[in-house]
Symmetry: C2
Amino acid sequence: MAKSNNNHSTKERILEKAESLFAEKGFHGVSIREITTAAKCNMASVHYHFNSKLNLYLEVFRSRWIPREKQMYDAFLASLEGEEAPEPGKVLTALANSYLKGPMSDEESRRHRQLIVREMQTPTEAFKLAANETLRPLFTTLYNLLKPSLHNGSDGNLTFDIMSIFGITLYLNYSRPMVSQITGKEYDDTFKSLLIDHMVRFSLNGLGS
Amino acid sequence: MAKSNNNHSTKERILEKAESLFAEKGFHGVSIREITTAAKCNMASVHYHFNSKLNLYLEVFRSRWIPREKQMYDAFLASLEGEEAPEPGKVLTALANSYLKGPMSDEESRRHRQLIVREMQTPTEAFKLAANETLRPLFTTLYNLLKPSLHNGSDGNLTFDIMSIFGITLYLNYSRPMVSQITGKEYDDTFKSLLIDHMVRFSLNGLGS
DNA sequence: GTCTATAGCAGGATAGAC
DNA sequence: GTCTATCCTGCTATAGAC
């Protein structure tokens, strides 16, 4: 299948550049030409390996996005060390560390979340994949972990709470340019850990626990 | 300029359909053909009235998005009735009612927020316009209204808090399909007021006041 | 498995009649 | 101000050599 004497086969290089460009510009904003130029190969390779542009896009999710998201989910579970009923503060800290820190570079994690936000706006088959294989399990786990700690036992509220925590997490992805544009201030080194601290504090307060 | 015997001139019909389609599919996802078919006029009209597709897109912001956002901002200010130091609960309730209820239909307000979220992901000239003319004033106003009530006097925290409130507000726009897809539950009539209640409660808690 | 060459089509933009 | 007709570019996809 892959050329055996290459660290990164053409197929892998295409997937990598495709993910990066789709995240940055969206499906319709990128051409196959652009992808293959970046991947230093010919346009025809995309059709040889993936049949079509749309299928390349879906393959980005299948072979890169979903496995990466599952890794973060596993890291999240692992950092709770199988505790029966961890406190909400511990749950949210574990969540933030696994999903916002994790092993990825800033750029990689930014792209990762850009892809799913684009899918939320204009869902394709990829969103169903992501929802069923990663988002729903995470939601269910969070729901079960947080439910016992709430004095206010309304299920509906907790559902919305978790959606808001998702929202903050995704949205903070875009905060750096926004904060600069809107407040005029500049953030750099400390920005990431500030975001994580904020996310934990705000969400924990938001839950009302 | 406009045909005087028409309630909605061709120019207006183009703007209206363009806004709707750009919101739904993004700039690159829509063709001029699609817009003019929906507006029941010919392709050449776009170039006659707007010179180019990009300029039509920008004009959607200039002549529709920004005035609408300003209306909501004014309604927000009006509902505070010039109080000196309203409590955070009152500020957030006014915010939610002006920005999430307001005079718009559900579909209209959904499109309104879709446009700005797309700009946050892939900013064009339109984002600068929106940031300078509407988002920054709103941010500054909220900052000044909320600052006196906080026991924790850190400026940086309040900046992030407001960004998170923006995030929740924008993200809840997409919640209905998300909640259904992820939880399997269905929401309908009561969904909107549930969202508003949730947004006020969660944000108020999040602020820690 | 990767390349060149090209088919075939859809896109934005323009010219000019009315 | 609105239309028809058309240009031309850039796109996806395919054929076929190596």
